[in-house]
């Protein structure tokens, strides 16, 4: 959309860091993307007042002069959606970082223009629809095998409806190519491109919303076992620095049972993204054996990249996630960290001299957070299949204080809260998810699924282990005051069982063979520990001293069960036999003693 007059040419009239002011902007649109000056920096109009407009600039403004020209693009901040996204790595405004590297070298120089998806890239397409078919939003037109793991469904976009007059033949197509031609109600023929554009701040439509009742299995015992998340659910991971937010997010990105993973690095470290880039192509998906990169998309605006693009990265990521959801896939989106996004809002708001609400954050912070988290959900897509977007957002509260505005408001819009505990992290108990502060509102909703698919006793075990952990907290307070020895034996057994649960079950290394722990393995461990507790309690009631029950290799080894490979059932059986033998022996000795005494 180009105008052939000067009506759409503005001029810079004030520069204040990433926020600039321009005049001659009467014919531009609110939220329109613009190119500024000689360097053609990318910006977005965020406020309009008569002839003047305020623009947030997505690139470094050093070197900009008053009077430089501003040119409109005719669209709001949008991303390209089509085959070629999987395995890609994009910056906050959707520029492919690999292409930037080829073009400009190791530094990101301002003003570079590179298409998000290379239009020349070739694919093999299999058409499904045929000329003469009636199509509407959501009709499947064809498929492209994008990677070994992902079949890309090319679906009729929501603004097109009518009769197909032409469909691409099976075979080669480029990303810039046309898939089909549709005769719409007005009689006009429209092209359906393989790569479509979508404005990132607008949620993509779906047919209906479903209740989240299927768990998103994560392979992390503390999550699957105690605080599960559902497909289409929302979760927050708050924690001070060094508590393991990023490692937990990486773990979820690696092992979650999602078909697509979108990982957003928002205002975080460059090396963390490099870590993902180097690891994911070599790590295998435990279910298919294919490289994890074949289902992963990375979006990153690291902390040293311009702040306005950091604000945009969250929307870029969620739009991509929704696009794959619309093909009927379960998508997991990790945003690390939503606090940096909130701070970007604060920074821009400060430059606009808006009246701040709490701690300098703008008053619209809660509504922005709500808009973002509400884009998660399990839905019936326009295509007719069920798809979901689950959002897991890291929160970085200053000083690890969970009462600060971002954490507090986030809690209002999520249903799963995995609070990270500084003391656990200091003792290197990872994942440092606190079993006292955390909660999951999905636990009841997904219980049926776990019961049917993994282990009928799932709910029971969960309740029991949580009760033991909570009771243990009270006992620990007493122990801190008077020591363990003075406690009655039943309490000491409970405290010891809690020790086993913490060290043998909840603790899970992010590296090595225990990094992914299928629910069946977790339940095997927990079941055995609870078995020990039940039998131990019987013996304690018979008057057996705790030291006799506890001091045996078979018991101590309960903290090493996680070293057993998940499919090695015989080792678990072996551990159970040894444990039972020990407890039986203790019991017989006790009975004999009593017999002797009588």
């Amino acid at each position: 959309m180009l105008d052939n007059n000067d009506a759409r040419l503005g001029r810079v009239d004030m520069i204040n860091g990433p926020v600039i002011n321009a005049r001659g902007m009467r014919n531009f649109a609110m939220r329109e993307m613009v190119r500024i000056g000689e360097k053609r920096l990318l910006g977005e109009i965020i406020r309009m007042d008569g002839d003047s407009a305020t623009i947030q600039v997505y690139e470094d403004t050093q070197g900009m002069r008053v009077g430089e020209e501003i040119e409109g693009s005719g669209e709001s901040l949008s991303v390209s959606l089509g085959p070629g996204l999987i395995g890609g790595f994009f910056d906050g405004i959707g520029r492919p970082l690999a292409a930037l590297l080829d073009k400009e070298g190791m530094y990101i120089t301002p003003g570079i223009e590179v298409p998000m998806i290379d239009p020349e890239k070739a694919w093999e397409i299999k058409p499904v629809a045929a000329a003469g078919d009636m199509v509407t939003a959501g009709t499947l037109l064809g498929t492209v095998q994008e990677t070994g793991l992902v079949l890309h469904r090319v679906i009729c976009p929501s603004n097109i409806e009518g009769e197909l007059t032409w469909v691409v033949p099976e075979g080669r197509i480029t990303s810039g190519g046309v898939v089909a031609r549709v005769k719409v109600a007005s009689g006009k023929e429209v092209d359906v491109p393989l790569t479509q554009r979508w404005p990132v701040r607008t949620p993509r439509p779906y047919r209906d919303r479903l209740l989240p009742d299927e768990p998103l299995v994560t392979g992390q015992r503390v999550i699957d076992g105690l605080f599960p998340i559902a497909k289409g659910g929302t979760a927050a991971i708050p924690g001070g620095f060094g508590t393991g937010k990023t490692v937990t997010q990486h773990q979820l990105a690696k092992w979650s049972e999602a078909q697509i993973v979108v990982y957003i690095g928002c205002g975080e470290r460059g090396n963390e993204m490099t870590d993902v880039l180097e690891q994911f192509p070599v790590l295998e998906d435990p279910r298919s054996g294919r490289p994890l990169m074949e289902r992963t998309i990375l979006v990153a605006n690291t902390s040293n990249m311009p702040v306005a693009a950091r604000e945009a990265s969250i929307y870029t990521g969620i739009t991509i996630a929704e696009y794959f959801r619309d093909m009927g896939y379960d998508v997991a989106l990790m945003a690390d960290s939503t606090s940096r996004w909130a701070e970007a809002l604060r920074e821009i708001s400060g430059r606009l001299e808006e009246i701040p609400a709490e701690e300098g954050f703008p008053a619209y912070l809660p509504s922005r957070l709500a808009e973002f988290y509400e884009r998660a959900g399990r839905v019936v897509t326009q295509y007719g299949e069920n798809g979901s977007v689950s959002i897991i957002g890291a929160v970085s509260p200053p000083g690890g204080d969970f009462t600060e505005p971002v954490t507090r408001h986030t809690k209002r819009f999520i249903r799963c809260f995995w609070g990270l505990d500084k003391n656990l992290a200091n003792a290197r108990h990872f994942p440092a998810i606190s079993w006292l502060d955390s909660y999951s509102e999905y636990a009841k909703e997904v219980e049926e699924w776990f019961g049917a698919n993994v282990e009928p006793k799932w709910g029971e075990l969960r309740e029991k282990s949580r009760a033991i952990l909570l009771e243990d907290e009270k006992i620990q307070q007493v122990i801190r005051l008077v020591g363990e020895d003075v406690l009655p034996d039943d309490q000491r057994l409970l405290a010891y069982t809690a020790f086993l649960v913490k060290n043998g079950y909840l603790q899970q290394a992010a590296f090595g063979s225990d990094s992914y722990s299928p629910p069946s393995k977790g339940f095997a461990i927990l079941d055995l520990i609870m078995h020990f507790y039940d039998r131990g309690m019987e013996l304690v009631r018979q008057g057996v001293p705790i030291s006799l029950i506890r001091e045996n290799e078979a018991v101590e080894n309960l903290t090493h069960l996680r070293e057993i490979q998940s499919d090695d059932k015989s080792s678990f059986d072996d551990a159970r036999t040894k444990l039972d033998n020990h407890l039986n022996r203790v019991e017989t000795e006790r009975t004999r003693e009593q017999g002797g005494a009588e």
Partner: protein, 459 residues
């Protein structure tokens, strides 16, 4: 293009001056500000509109007479002149030579603000840097290309520790090693200490120094770390050197930033610091790393003093969110006379997971480190219990925990300021002190590792 010069300014406010009608100025442009008979000061455009330009003057605005002040726009941004011969030289906080050897010969002007590194260009840092300090090598391993700050407090031996790291640091492979030292608002005595120690220990010929002393203009502190990091990047990526950057004290830098923000009338955020403190610090700390296909690297060791030893204060807090870990010094350990007084529980190296273990240090390293953390963490609980019930009342396990705590602090942690320990030596010592504990407590080690390293009790 001839440089434009204006006479007369319309407003002076703290470190800022306002100049009217400067059509050619650009955002971030450098200016020279002078009064007749006075020394020329450097300044930078921080905001501009059609009517007026706001300039931040390094060196302060004292004695400026608005009518007579001359402002010359230099048509370039904050930059530094760099060449291969900078190694061994000394500069002030603005990157001007102060060692009397004249300007940098044949230098190339480089934008001191740097540019964001494309994350695709980075290589994930994995190479172990030997520091010879048990607590660091074993538990908070320094990796080449890492940014690992020292969180300290006033009066703690952070300078001594930084010197020890700088002099003992050895890369397992390459020898092309250099140090860039940036002093921000530091005391003359501290600067003197660094220079003396580093030259005595044979590091003076490959060190580049940037000094902004405590009595130098506060505003120059904004430029100092940028100058130092530009030099480091130049040495690493163009000269292929492995550069260790020591920046002290980051707290002075943040204070300067706050002073400036308040003077500019910005909306303050936590504790009066500007809302962009995180982004600003990130623009410095992120200038560390290893680049694919380039032989050099930049490793950062910034030092900051925590105000009132408070780790939740915005300066250490935001730093911890950006850097790849932290080494925290403890007043408590220092009081016990233990050097280095590293509080290992709150210290962390985020990059160590990939730089230790098989093929890097030793197979057993991850297990030993994890177990030492877990066991030492328990020592703290037992000590507070012993404080209540008395040591005699403790259980056998708790008593062994106390014994372990003592060994950990006095054998493992404590070492001389010149003592250079090998990693193998440190790990063996780790096993030795762990054997003070009952085997049932060693939950972080695998059964195989325990069998291999801990001798069976004979009792």
């Amino acid at each position: 293009m001839p440089l434009s010069e204006y006479v007369g300014i319309s407003e002076v406010n703290g470190p800022f001056i306002l100049i009217e009608n400067t059509p050619d100025a650009f955002f971030g442009e450098l200016v020279d500000v002078g009064v007749p008979g006075g020394k020329t000061r450097r300044g930078r455009v921080v905001s501009l509109s059609e009517k007026a330009t706001l300039v931040q003057v390094f060196g302060g605005t004292d004695k400026l007479v608005p009518n007579e002040t001359r402002v010359r726009f230099l048509n370039r941004a904050l930059d530094i002149s760099l060449a291969a011969n900078i190694v061994g030289r000394k500069f002030n906080g603005l990157g001007e030579p102060t060692d009397g050897c004249g300007p940098v010969f044949g230098g190339r002007r480089i934008d001191a603000n740097g540019m964001p590194l494309n994350p695709m260009a980075r290589q994930y840092p994995k190479d172990f840097i030997h520091t010879g300090i048990s607590a660091i090598d074993t538990l908070t391993t320094l990796i080449r290309g890492q940014k690992l700050p020292i969180f300290s407090g006033n009066g703690l031996p952070h300078n001594q520790l930084a010197v020890q790291i700088a002099t003992q640091a050895r890369l397992m492979t390459s020898e092309n090693f250099a140090v860039v030292f940036a002093g921000i608002g530091i005391k003359h005595d501290d600067a003197e200490f660094f220079m003396r120690e580093l030259s005595e220990k044979g590091r003076s010929n490959n060190i580049v120094t940037f000094l902004n002393l405590a009595d130098d203009p506060v505003i120059e502190r904004i430029a100092t770390p940028r100058m130092a990091l530009s030099a480091a990047e130049y040495m690493a990526y163009e000269l292929g050197m492995h550069v260790l950057v020591i920046i002290t004290d980051m707290t002075s830098y943040c204070e300067a930033l706050r002073e400036l923000g308040v003077a500019a009338g910005e909306v303050p955020s936590r504790k009066g610091y500007p809302a962009y403190l995180y982004s600003d610090l990130a623009s410095l700390y992120e200038r560390a790393g290893v680049v694919r296909g380039v032989s050099g690297s930049v490793t950062q060791l910034p030092i900051l003093t925590m105000p009132n030893d408070d780790i939740t204060h915005p300066i250490p807090d935001l730093t911890g969110f950006i850097t790849e870990g932290q080494i925290v010094l403890s007043r408590d350990l220092d009081g016990k006379g233990i050097y280095p007084p590293i509080d290992v529980l709150t210290s962390l190296s985020r990059l160590m997971k990939d730089g230790i273990g098989k093929g890097f240090t030793r197979d057993d390293h991850p297990g030993v480190a994890s177990q030492l953390f877990a066991s030492y963490s328990r020592v703290q609980d037992v000590r507070s219990l012993a404080g209540v019930v008395g040591e005699d009342e403790l259980s056998k396990t708790d008593k062994s925990s106390l014994e372990f705590g003592g060994l950990f602090e006095n054998k493992f942690l404590r070492q001389g300021t010149d003592e250079d320990r090998d990693i193998g030596f440190s790990l063996d010592m780790g096993w030795e002190i762990l054997s003070a504990l009952p085997k049932g407590d060693l939950t972080r080690l695998s059964l195989d590792e325990i069998k291999e390293h801990i001798k069976e009790d004979t009792e």
